[in-house]
Symmetry: C2
Subunit: 350 residues, 2 copies
């Protein structure tokens, strides 16, 4: 850990997140979801989608992009489906509320699907998939994002780094959790490579002509995993998150940072819940799920010192460390949080 990074307990950070959101008059139930969403991302090591986003969100609330006091409107369009109007509040809050509706339906009908519209950035999709898994359902979560992914054969980007998330409960440990964008590296990884002047992995990025380059300073767009295969996954996610929600898609999606904070983003998310009981005895399934994860981990290793991991394992390892030793915050982010603290006149956690 570099000297410029300090660690803080999850509890303390949680208190600060809540105070800050309270100070800009976000409604209590919304605050709860947002604080949990940001905190869980930071605990699991997904720092790009964790507490560092607070600065942006506070500005987005103050600018008017994010609604602090939403009037949700859920319409159950059929017994297993519904649409959820987020009324431009935080995607974290709308997503958890929508996932709960999907779970309620799945309890009755075996499956539940909810589209969320008039939404905005929702943080990690894992947060929603895990909400289902913690309640013993299989959860799938989809969201779109602004165009950063190169279109194979084109000079530029069209779709975003649209993630697919799936969480599955298992016996004896935290749920399996896959949450992944269809690019080789994340945008944050690129920014880090630029800062440290390190070459990007092969086939991970392209320049303004759409030609592959490993020079991070020349990379302006990310390449999809498996070329057209990852591109197709991104398109599928936009069909669910953009078209099926009635929101914008592809290049029409407002950029998170470049768009004025007065402007609503009108994003969409799509959530699916599967009742395990509708297909298999739940306890048998959860036992087999645990065995499957362990079987993979126990496969013969290439390097005896490098563990084989299943999706979610790196995050579980990080979470164990951070819950014990605190969540590291980099100097740059610390300064930003400190300045929020001063400006909003709320006590910083030190």
């Amino acid at each position: 850990m570099a000297d410029s990074t300090k660690r803080f307990s999850a509890d303390k950070i949680s208190g600060f997140l809540e105070s800050a959101l309270k100070a800009v008059k976000v409604r209590d139930d919304v605050i709860k979801h947002v604080a949990e969403g940001l905190l869980s991302a930071s605990i699991r090591g997904v720092d790009s989608h964790g507490i560092r986003l607070l600065t942006h969100y506070i500005a987005a609330v103050e600018g008017g992009r994010i609604n602090r006091n939403p009037q949700y409107r859920f319409e159950r369009t059929a017994s297993a489906t519904g649409t959820f109007d987020a009324d431009h509040t935080f995607g974290h809050a709308a997503g958890i509320e929508a996932m709960r509706k999907a779970m309620e339906m799945a309890k009755e009908t075996g499956a539940g699907m909810v589209s969320v519209f008039n939404s905005t950035h929702c943080g990690t999709s894992a947060f929603f998939a895990l909400e289902a898994a913690k309640n013993d359902f299989i959860g799938l979560a989809f969201t779109h994002a602004n165009a950063l992914l190169n279109t194979p054969g084109s000079t530029r980007t069209f779709f975003g780094l649209n993630p697919i998330a799936m969480a599955v409960p298992c016996e004896g440990e935290e749920p399996f959790c896959y949450d992944s964008a269809p690019s080789i590296i994340t945008w944050n990884k690129l920014l880090q490579l630029r800062q440290e002047d390190i070459q990007a992995p092969h086939f991970s990025g392209a320049d303004t002509e759409g030609s592959e380059t490993t020079n991070p300073h020349e990379i302006t767009q990310l390449l999809p995993i498996g070329g057209y295969k990852g591109f197709g996954l991104a398109m599928m996610v936009d069909i669910l998150s953009g078209l099926l929600t009635g929101m914008t898609v592809g290049r029409d999606i407002a950029d998170m940072y470049k768009t004025p904070l007065t402007q609503k983003r009108c994003l969409g998310q799509f959530y699916m819940v599967i009742s395990i009981d509708a297909f298999q005895p739940k306890e048998v399934f959860k036992k087999r799920m645990k065995k499957l994860m362990d079987d993979v981990r126990n496969e013969p290793k290439k390097d005896i010192n490098t563990p084989i991991m299943v999706p979610g394992d790196p995050e579980k390892k990080t979470a164990a460390d951070r819950l014990k030793n605190g969540i590291p915050i980099k100097e740059h982010d610390l300064k930003a949080l400190n300045s929020i603290s001063e400006r909003l006149k709320i006590k910083w956690i030190e």
Copy 2:
């Protein structure tokens, strides 16, 4: 087209497929689905999963692996979910029947999910997803397969090249269709590279130690797209297709070819159907879907002579050609079909 390849009309091939399956006493309704499945794969250019498989299937019926006269058992476990016992018949037939059940439920409840168990090889997953899309639903299809995909960090394979398929209806043209395994290249592509002694693409294959190689003769396992990302996709598909159906998973799945043809494979498939009407006015959605596809195709090209394509476009192009000019069959496959014709005493199509 090489001299060793001849073309035959889809109609004639269809007739031959039906006669051959009839000759080994497969039931008429099963024949219909299998012939359509094989033919549609061949028309769309997915030759690996097309009519060349007839030889294998006939042997599997005669060996007892595939049941020619299944007693299906569908249980509607909740209003939006059901389980479908394929009774070891062709996955093609069970899949279409299951998809129809899923569509019936989706009509009522907005969404339908069906797990298929006691199944076997089902051909292309696109066949099932497209069945939904042709009926104006969004269809998703998942199946697992025997272990050919390297586990990141391991010396060997665990999951199969488990495909994800999604088909979506649109205005004015055949549905969007994504159907893709989480490997850079297909197993058939590898066999072809070996035959022609051509190097494989970088990061597409690994040797018996799990080390990356481009030498097709040394490649014994395929590498996942995006490393652990593609691996995670394969695992997700096995959770749905194997665990949620109560079938085997991972390395326990019987190899299609190496397992004696007397032995049932006990595969599973998982199907999802989404009713568009439950989320958006269908005609608006289909218009926007068409526009999305065209917008992507009209993006600025890297090479003016190379079209930008969306998932399903290469198959549509091939289908247009093959429906007009006939389906090419390679000499090797032609010989095999001819020998079926002789042995089963059915008229070959020439």
